[in-house]
């Protein structure tokens, strides 16, 4: 486990270096003055500009410049947004939790729906229900997510009037910002309308979360189906059956547990996918998350925000990736071995 941890940590540090280097070089690639791209201070006066040049060591070698940039990043200073002139770290801290919250709920829905369906398909291997589930899954991951979102709004918000179409809570509820995770903030708040706010927030998250969940759910269906088929063919299942266990006992006591372990690693991978789908969905459902913010920054050519947003988002995805690796390794000792090399 130690070598495994060390390997992951070195990989993490290496990747972070690459990512910051990339983000650092973006300031040179983007049009305009490098130091302004770093800091986002478009209205800086001459003296302020000189100060910035000093702070980012622009007069020194490129290595020093990178060092200065890294120091700023490590201190949580991503500069300020060119569009709104407020600090990017502040904006990200406000927006990232909303995206995480939405993605987590979507992941949960995708797992709750996808994994059992996959198991059912595997148990019913090559029967009608297997084919039906597989066809639905294929349709599910072929639908463009933005189109699905629009149809969902048309049907559930406007046609049936069941669920709200935009935002994460009705604007009438005034919820103090604490963690950024809406549900936790509501529970922490002392608003007299706490429980209405809670149910209102739940109603707001259902539609976007379900839209995001569709594609990952279809992938979970395929993964869990494959895993279950493999497990059911394993010798220990045959042994269990020979021992006279009933089919249900075999499934619930042995097969599901072993099949789940195989899936867990993919949950982390899917999370990255999910965050991307969430970015698009946020635009459609006006969800105040980092995806919508990033896409708007691209429209507005807010280079400092693009830089900071990309860095944080890719770091976040990578951290999730490594975390799932750890969980997987903790659950499954076989995975700790040396995978690569000659």
């Amino acid at each position: 486990m130690l070598t495994f941890t060390l390997r992951r940590i070195s990989l993490f540090i290496f990747t972070m270096l690459v990512l910051t280097l990339l983000s650092f070089s973006l300031s040179f690639l983007f049009p305009g003055d490098t130091v302004i791209n770093h800091s986002g201070q478009i209205n800086a006066t001459v003296s302020e500009l000189a100060q910035l040049n000093q702070a980012y060591q622009m007069d020194k070698s490129i290595v020093n410049q990178y060092g200065a940039y890294l120091t700023h990043i490590l201190n949580g200073d991503f500069g300020q947004s060119m569009a709104s002139q407020s600090p990017i770290s502040k904006e990200i801290i406000e927006l990232l939790p909303a995206t995480i919250e939405l993605s987590l709920v979507a992941l949960l829905i995708a797992m709750i729906v996808g994994i059992p369906l996959g198991f059912i398909a595997a148990i019913k291997h090559n029967k009608t229900s297997d084919h039906v589930i597989l066809s639905l899954a294929m349709l599910g991951y072929s639908i463009p997510v933005f189109w699905l979102g629009l149809l969902a709004i048309l049907v559930f918000s406007i046609g049936l009037g069941w669920l709200p179409s935009a935002g994460k809570i009705s604007l009438l509820f005034e919820i103090e910002f604490v963690t950024g995770i809406q549900f936790i903030d509501i529970l922490l708040s002392d608003s007299p309308y706490k429980w209405q706010a809670f149910s209102n927030a739940s109603a707001h998250i259902i539609l976007p979360a379900c839209v995001i969940a569709l594609a990952p759910a279809t992938i979970f269906i395929r993964l869990s189906r494959a895993a279950m088929i493999e497990v059911l063919a394993a010798s220990y299942i045959r042994a269990a059956r020979a021992k006279g266990l009933s089919f249900q006992q075999i499934i619930f006591r042995h097969a599901i547990r072993n099949a789940l372990i195989k899936i867990i690693r993919h949950v982390g991978l899917q999370f990255a996918n999910l965050v991307t789908i969430a970015m698009v969905t946020e635009v459609i459902f006006s969800w105040p998350g980092i995806g919508r913010w990033l896409i708007e920054s691209i429209y507005q050519r807010d280079y400092t925000a693009i830089q900071g947003g990309l860095l944080v988002l890719s770091c976040f995805i990578f951290i999730i990736h490594i975390l799932t690796d750890f969980i997987y390794a903790a659950l499954n000792p076989l995975a700790r071995g040396n995978k690569y090399g000659s």
């Binding site: 059912i120 309308y193 109603a203």
Partner: protein
Amino acid sequence: MAVLTMSFKPTLPLLISAFVSLLVGCNEGNKLSLSERSIIYCSEGSPETFNPQLSTSGTTTDAISKQLYNSLIVYKGKNNTLGPSLAKSWHVTRDGKKITFYLRQDVRFHQTSYFTPTRLLNADDVLFSFNRILDKNHAYHQVSGGQYPFFQSTKFTELIEKIEKINDYTIRFILKRSDSSFVANLATDYAIILSAEYGEKLLNKGTPHKIDILPIGTGPFKFKEYRVGSLIRFYRHDSYWQGQAKIEQLVFDITLSRTSRLTKLLAKECDVSSYPIAHAKIAERTDLILESITSLNVGYFGFNTKKEPFNNKLVRQAISLAINKQAIIDTVYHSKAARAKSILPETSWAYDTNTPEQGYDPVRAKSLLEIAGYAQGFTMDLWAMPVQRAYNPNALTMAKLIQADLKKIGVKVKIVSYEWSTFLRRLSLGEHQSFLLGWNADTPEPDNFFTPMLSCSASETGNNRTFWCNKEFDQLLQEALKTTNMKQRKRYYAQAMAIINEEMPLLPIAHSKRYQARGTDVVGDILSNFGGISFYQAAKINTNNKADDMVNKVSN
């Protein structure tokens, strides 16, 4: 095994739908109290500032002016006559150079988490508010940039000699010359009253810029929070001098996308929406109302009176007679605009109902052309503006309709268009023969329609793109500004409009409307003819109760 899966499949969707209906159910049931006391307004953009003195953008005035502030006087009633507000009365000396305002003595400023007023409104606040604009050495003049666009364009600073405080509740403006539009300008959404006490407090703290970010005013709502690009939250100002507003909370949901605004409106996520699209869709819903007011603007077809053949009055008249305005209004404005009889909209107080209108008469047009010596017709350029504006939603289509109309009297039209800034620049150089453009009034003051658009001085600066200069017309405008007698002024403007109708430097086409949509449960006026919207009168009613009432009435 079969039993297991069979039982599993139908229950899952059932569970989900049960969960959903549970949430929606308790949502509807309990939230009513809160939503009944609040209004969510889907607005089309973010305000630039929270002080209307600093801006002329309609979005900003809509959001803040009438919600947070009051001015000394206001426009009231159907005829938009001036009425009292923070000043309970006012007096203008005979020479029109001294204007005295007598202030109300019961006006309270907002009490918020960041400021607690210790006194009522008095003359110091008025002095503070106007001196900030007038006095270049005032501590607040340069705060937030030192630009006061409305006051600069109306030459406010040049006009005022000084402002005197007579006593705590009396204040006098002394002008360098008489100007009847001056009082009107004080009634605009820009001439609001700030709190001097708050200004002083901020100055002592060293944070004067907060006066324009965390506003304190006397209006019916007080500022609660602003999330950039997302929302503005107001709460009711409980001790408002005109009595409390009917709603407790007002939220501006800033929604830039027109489709999103419509979606939110249809999904009942906002109660009122600005500038809605898809009017037909809204009209077919029984729970929504589409409303509109004719705002102060005019879309017109102008002629370059310095160029052949439009230097001939008869040609201008002939072309004007040949154009079917009603067809344009039906096609381009989807019948949603008022046909313009003259440049001044009918909603203006100075509008004279007897104003003549150039009709549609292609036969007479043809004969006028013959008299003018163009029996064979001619070829002309028509410059169509490339952008969409409230006064002209589709200039290209309008140009095509005009082209078809003029073809009937033997005039061939070539449609020209440039990129917007190039278009305006070349227009002001006078390269065109005729053009489609419009005018959005900055103030309800009628002069705003005449002087900037058609006066001789405007033709020198290039703002008058017809380059028409009529001494008699200019004289009338001058006279109208010298007097404060509204009847007298109205007469002058009626004469001016008669000259326009005779000389035809331009053909006014339409006064377009401003649209707004709301749920049927929102009552009370929100739109006003001038300036920004106001939610002071707005209230929510319970539509279910209303339906019950109606049932009761029927059974009785």
